[in-house]
Assembly symmetry: C2
Homo-oligomer: 167 residues x 2
């Protein structure tokens, strides 16, 4: 399902993509959304610089993030606009929002409320496992946990809500 | 394009995705590739923690990155395996490779050779523009440059090669 923008603003929030020079060197936000209407968003902790998560935004989520200063994403598992922290209270206050060279990726630097965690599994960062380099010698590469304990118990926060992880 | 490395390996480099618990809490790399066979990869500077780029990897690129310790991506514009720095010399040496909770995103912490730049436009980071928050009030959000000058002149490095930015 395509993530349609549902806002009813009268002005166009994004510029048209006219030329490579304008996209790369210009001063107007002209994001490129993929075939599903989404743009990937890297979210880092503004104080520690740790990468917290990789999310996706549709036009409305990007626009709401810019206007409100709070991170909004498009939930691919629930297929709806997702104000981060609406359920958990772990709101992400945007300190800085950047766009990349060809304007097909967003980088959010945020300050997370509460425990400071951003991962639905309960860890601070979604990237709580590193991959052993040097490569597998007979099987899949092995993972090593980089966080020794969870910041919260997901059952306390999400109850019986469906897990967004999909196989 | 390089020959497929998987032709020469007898073992499967990635684990099968069997359960949510295994994917989220397990110790085997079981990445999820999208409909195009790709997984997004956030690349940060290991010393400054700055986000340098968002790239994409196919299975071979991920495997080559793990085995060689140098960042490999899949070039969506050229549709080929891309050893970062093969043309520019700006090789990315991997300091750490992480995978996220549902194993559908990669985070690389790298040390960049030469000038330390990673952006084809010539900047250090591909994210060289920030978006003004609070807006827009009647038009597209405005961008502000966060790097005052380029690290290199793209014409010196890439000559007349096609620009990867696509409208």
């Amino acid at each position: 399902m395509r993530a349609e923008r549902t806002d009813r603003t009268t002005s166009t929030p994004f510029a048209a993509r006219v030329s490579v020079e304008q996209v790369e060197e210009g001063l107007a936000l002209a994001p490129k959304f993929d075939a599903d209407g989404l743009i990937p968003c890297i979210t880092t902790d503004a104080s520690t610089s740790e990468v917290l998560m990789l999310g996706y935004m549709n036009g409305e989520a990007l626009q709401q993030t810019i206007v409100t200063g709070e991170a909004h994403y498009w939930s691919r598992s629930r297929q709806c606009l997702w104000r981060k922290g609406a359920t958990s209270g772990l709101i992400q206050e945007v300190v800085e929002l950047r766009i990349d060279d060809d304007q097909d990726a967003v980088w959010l630097r945020v300050k997370v409320a509460g425990s400071g965690a951003s991962c639905h599994v309960g860890y601070r960062s979604c990237f709580y496992r590193s991959v052993e380099l040097g490569g597998p010698s007979g099987g899949p590469a092995q993972l090593v946990f980089t966080e020794s304990r969870k910041s919260f118990d997901p059952k306390d926060i999400y109850g019986d809500a469906p897990n967004p992880t999909q196989l």
